[in-house]
Symmetry: C2
Subunit: 215 residues, 2 copies
């Protein structure tokens, strides 16, 4: 089902000349703008093409259908996000868990905050896709990076990394998303971020205490 869901979602043709690369970029940008101004329900191929300043036919030369366009847009965004998380993780090898958690939250939170409206629009567009594959692929990729990081924490038994990773990432990603779906002002958002970090660290300390006792 997973592989089938992504079938026919690949670009029909890959741009080779520079003008077509410009075209594809324009289409992506137009998709974002339509998504923001009209919402997923009113996002049509004609509207996107019009906004991008190209004809519908051109759009269909690079995306076999509307779904493929939305999927490609999300892949683009998720890849960029995954790269940032991977960088963050790579830089924290050997540090303390608390630092790792803080860095992870920081990275994720900033990435989402930079374009909060886009973040929300994309969340919705994936939901409308009825397609788990996309998010799962991203989750797996990021999980690999974060688990590897936690395994190299200076103050954590490496064998606990996987379990701790699952808990932390679920809480962090979930909380961040929820924070953005509520309509909160900047202060509340900032306060939440600090408390989320606190909470994760408090839990980690309690876990560390427990493992010390049994040693």
């Amino acid at each position: 089902m997973t592989s089938h869901a992504l079938q026919g979602a690949k670009p029909r043709k890959t741009p080779v000349q520079s003008r077509s690369r410009v075209t594809v970029d324009a289409i992506f940008e137009a998709t974002i703008q339509v998504l923001l101004s009209e919402g997923m329900a009113r996002l049509t191929t004609t509207r996107v093409a019009e906004r991008a300043g190209v004809s519908v036919g051109t759009m269909y030369q690079y995306f076999p259908n509307k779904l493929a366009l939305i999927i490609a847009l999300n892949e683009r965004y998720l890849n960029a996000l995954a790269e940032r998380v991977e960088q963050t993780c790579a830089r924290r090898a050997g540090h303390q868990v608390s630092e790792m958690v803080a860095a992870l939250i920081e990275t994720y939170w900033t990435a989402k905050t930079e374009r909060a409206d886009l973040t929300q629009a994309l969340y919705r567009s994936v939901a409308a896709l009825d397609n788990n594959a996309l998010m799962n692929a991203f989750a797996t990729r990021v999980d690999t990076a974060t688990t590897a990081m936690f395994r190299q924490a200076s103050d954590l038994p490496p064998e606990d990394a996987a379990a701790i990773n699952l808990t932390l990432t679920t809480v962090i990603y979930g909380a961040v998303r929820n924070a953005f779906e509520r309509e909160l002002d900047k202060e509340q958002i900032a306060a939440l971020k600090a408390r989320l970090t606190d909470m994760c660290c408090a839990w980690l300390r309690s876990v560390q205490l427990r493992t010390q006792m049994t040693t």
Copy 2:
């Protein structure tokens, strides 16, 4: 915008005879089934009516349009959920925060787990609506109940209730949702639930320690 989004979403006619109440129930149940089997994208009025064993015209007698149907379905579900949370909250007045948190997680988690597939289908249907109003109304209602509960905790300064409530609910609701969107087996889900409770409690203890010191 909020009020406008819900305009025309009210039932066109309220059932008065018992047979029509049966009809409306059948339509709701059919909507759920179509949502589960076909997904939001392929949910059409004809399909719903067919599944419900009524004609399209009948459906339009109670719901002015497709959107209203989806909204009504979600309202129904969210109201039931809100009631359960309110009950949970009412029963914990005067208890310790840790008990409150555990009860809140328990309630929320079970409600979502009972029909995990429906939970996910509804999450997606709201997303497709592009409608914050619905979720906001629910969030506000539940927040009132939980904040009131925390204000009556035996081991918490009442003035901290609001802030603590925001943090806890964001983390809990977010984490629960995220847990359901990942494809995890039952064991992992159960483990997550326990750790989420642990985490909230660990944080609360650290907050209590800090306020004790300054007193």
